[in-house]
């Protein structure tokens, strides 16, 4: 659906985005991660066609982004703002018409979404009368009212209370089920870990990690395996390919040195032991993020 190919953007003093590529498919939730100043916003702006990349291409269903495609993209910027003095309903309708909806259609959908997000009573009020969280919901409405194929959300959850976070998450999932693609950028790794199908971690303008969540985690190694079993497990001590073994009477913890070897190791274990419980404990995205961005173990990173 969306294909970002080797884009690069240079400003007078810095290279903001350097050779970034990734793919987003329909029905995917794509996490664009990275520390502040990593180049996320610049990347998003290029996808939105607000700024042009110096090099590389961004294609939507194989086509360069134009006016018609813009209408299929929704956007929630990180820093929130709305016209303060205008009526809520008018503001929503205005933005919807800018995405190509007719006035009447925009009004109909606006009321539906306001109802859905529990804001119906505010429709005729001025935006400035709303709480911050509610204003954020309004912006979210604006980003999806035209039923976009792709929604790009910059830090969608920040500033929302848990109840509204769930409301928003449900909407995400519904869109995903309807075959929409969602790109969201965040610093909150726990959130990304729970929601994303795929992630792309950017640091200093470069892609540091890219792939499905499990791919990323497994590529990154450090796979811990926890086992509960019956039988004599002493053979594990000499088994090739495992490391950091902690062996107890009927419990063992070890690390698989190379993820690829797991298919060889496991049959051996299964032959020797009766497994009661098997658990792969992966490193959290949070710890991966910290390690990568913190500058540790950079040799193990993949940069394509």
């Amino acid at each position: 659906m969306l294909s970002v190919q080797n884009i690069r953007k240079e400003y007078s003093t810095v290279v903001a985005v350097d050779d970034v590529s990734f793919e987003v498919k329909p029905g995917e939730i794509f996490g664009l991660l990275g520390p502040n100043g990593a180049g996320k916003t610049t990347t998003i702006r290029m996808i939105l066609d607000i700024i042009k990349p110096d090099r590389g291409k961004i294609l939507f269903n194989g086509k360069v982004i134009d006016e018609e495609i813009r209408n299929k993209i929704g956007y929630l910027p990180e820093e929130r703002g709305l016209y303060r003095k205008n009526k809520l309903i008018n503001t929503i309708i205005y933005f919807a018409t800018l995405k190509g909806l007719s006035q009447s259609e925009a009004r109909k959908r606006a009321y539906n979404l306001l109802k859905r997000l529990d804001l119906l009573s505010y429709a005729e009020r001025k935006v400035e009368e709303l709480s911050k969280g509610n204003q954020q919901k309004v912006q979210f409405i604006i980003s999806i009212i035209h039923d976009p194929q792709i929604v790009i959300l910059d830090e969608p959850f920040s500033g929302l209370d848990p109840v509204n976070q769930i409301v928003l998450k449900d909407l995400f999932m519904e869109m995903k089920d309807n075959g929409k693609a969602i790109i969201f950028s965040t610093h909150m790794m726990e959130q990304a870990e729970k929601l994303s199908d795929k992630i792309c971690l950017i640091n200093q303008g470069k892609v540091v990690l890219n792939g499905t969540l499990s791919e990323v985690k497994s590529k990154f190694g450090q796979n811990h395996i926890h086992l509960e079993f019956d039988g004599d497990a002493s053979f594990l001590k000499t088994l090739e390919g495992i490391d950091k073994l902690l062996l107890y009477e009927n419990y063992a913890e070890f690390e698989v040195k190379d993820h690829q070897d797991i298919d060889k190791i496991f049959p051996v274990i299964l032959q020797g032991l009766r497994i009661k419980k098997y658990e792969v404990v992966e490193p959290s995205l949070h710890s991966i993020f910290l390690q990568l961005v913190g500058g540790e173990k950079l040799t193990r990173t993949e940069s394509r």
């Binding site: 939105l48 700024i51 006016e67 813009r70 800018l98």
Partner: protein, 415 residues
């Protein structure tokens, strides 16, 4: 283009409803009429009550003649005399200082408006004094001065043996009648009407530019500061946004001008003085439209890089000052309409519209000059629009410190 219209509609409909706009719609005409007409009205307004003027008369005759003449010449609307002379008598002729004290006291007590000291020497050196709390009442001092002068001249002529009837004829008031000669033949004109028609044109273009310009800059700054601009830019192209904004806000400006024009026309019809000729207005129209577009572009170019209201106000302030230069020069241009400096100034695009607004009512410039200034203005407007669009596209997304000239230049050059 559809999106540009949607933007124009939003800018117009949402702003036309605001209290600020409605108030400005009402206040601007009041202010303009006030600033333009009130001082003149107050100065020329007839007194409603007689003014009492003291006279210390050392000639022993002038005071009575003065009283009689003033009584003949100046009457209040209700027929009562406008000026009443009250003689302040001297105990002895030399005791002027005592008399002054008495008279000063009369002024402070509000019994008299002021007083004249007519010395015996007035026949020789024609010098006399008027003392008052308020010496700025030009109408009063001018009338008294003229009357006293006439009396003295008359007396001098009489003493030379002239026939009193002849004297009256000789010193009858001389008034100048101004006739402006143009290709259409002669028309009566005077400074005031020329000045006011220039003033009206300049105020019209000024209001249009300032209203729209400020709204443009403020809306850009607002959208930048609350980051709406990113959503807008992701929905429509920068050009649509720019065109939509200028269209929508211009419509607002024209609503204001229209309101003013209607009020102006109503006033003119009521008082029977239409000082703007249609042909002048038609010649000015292209200057008006082009000048407006030129300034709109300048406002966009200067406003897009700004991030705060304060900066925006500063910048609009400077531009407004430039607009007013020709009005300051109006008096001088009227005296020297053919001066080469006037011609040169007319070619500076910032000044062209307002210079022409001043010049056309005075003396219509030659066809060559009109065409060449228009060409220069058209070219500069196109250049300004192009540059503004470039700056807008990039600067509207940048935050932080205002770019300096060098950085702006890089923006303009970049593709």
């Amino acid at each position: 283009m559809k999106k540009a219209l949607a933007i124009a509609r939003w800018e117009f409909v949402e702003k036309v409803k605001t209290k600020a706009f409605i108030i400005s719609l009402i206040l601007t005409p009041i202010f303009m009429v006030g600033a333009g007409i009130l001082p003149t009205l107050l100065v020329t307004k007839a007194d409603t009550e007689p003014r009492i003027i003291g006279v210390i008369d050392q000639t022993n005759e002038l005071a009575d003649i003065l009283a009689q003449k003033l009584d003949e010449k100046y009457r209040l609307p209700d027929g009562a005399p406008n000026y009443i002379i009250r003689k302040i008598f001297l105990e002895s002729k030399e005791d002027l200082s005592t008399a002054k004290k008495v008279a000063d006291q009369l002024i402070t007590d509000g019994n008299i408006e002021g007083y004249l000291i007519l010395p015996a020497s007035v026949y020789e050196d024609s010098v006399f004094e008027y003392r008052s709390k308020n010496v700025g009442n030009i109408k009063l001092t001018e009338r008294i001065n003229r009357t006293v002068r006439d009396i003295i001249v008359e007396k001098k002529l009489k003493s030379q043996g002239f026939d009193p009837r002849l004297i009256k004829k000789l010193i009858s008031e001389i008034e100048i009648k101004l006739v402006k000669v143009s290709e259409k033949g002669e028309e009566e004109s005077d400074f005031k009407s020329v000045f006011f028609s220039a003033y009206i044109f300049i105020m019209a273009i000024f209001i249009l530019i300032v209203t729209t310009g400020q709204l443009l800059v403020r809306s850009m700054v607002e959208e930048k500061s609350n980051r709406i601009i990113e959503v807008l830019m992701s929905s429509s192209s920068a050009n649509d946004l720019l065109v939509g904004k200028i269209l929508g806000l211009s419509a607002l400006g024209f609503v204001q001008i229209g309101t003013l024009a209607i009020i102006g026309l109503a006033l003119a019809l009521k008082f029977g003085t239409i000082i703007i000729s249609l042909s002048n207005a038609l010649i000015l129209l292209p200057y008006f439209v082009l000048g407006y577009l030129f300034y709109a572009a300048i406002f966009v170019g200067m406003g897009a890089p700004l991030t705060t209201e304060q900066e925006a106000q500063q910048v609009t302030g400077y531009l407004v000052m430039i607009l007013f230069i020709p009005l300051l020069l109006a008096m001088w241009i009227m005296q020297n309409p053919g001066s080469p400096i006037v011609s040169v100034l007319s070619y500076i695009p910032f000044l062209t519209p307002t210079m022409m607004a001043v010049r056309i009512p005075i003396q219509i410039p030659s066809l060559i000059e009109i065409i060449s200034t228009l060409i220069v203005l058209i070219l500069s407007t196109i250049a300004a629009m192009w540059t503004a669009a470039k700056i807008f596209r990039t600067a509207i997304l940048s935050y932080g410190k205002r770019p300096n000239m060098k950085e702006l230049w890089i923006l303009i050059k970049s593709k």
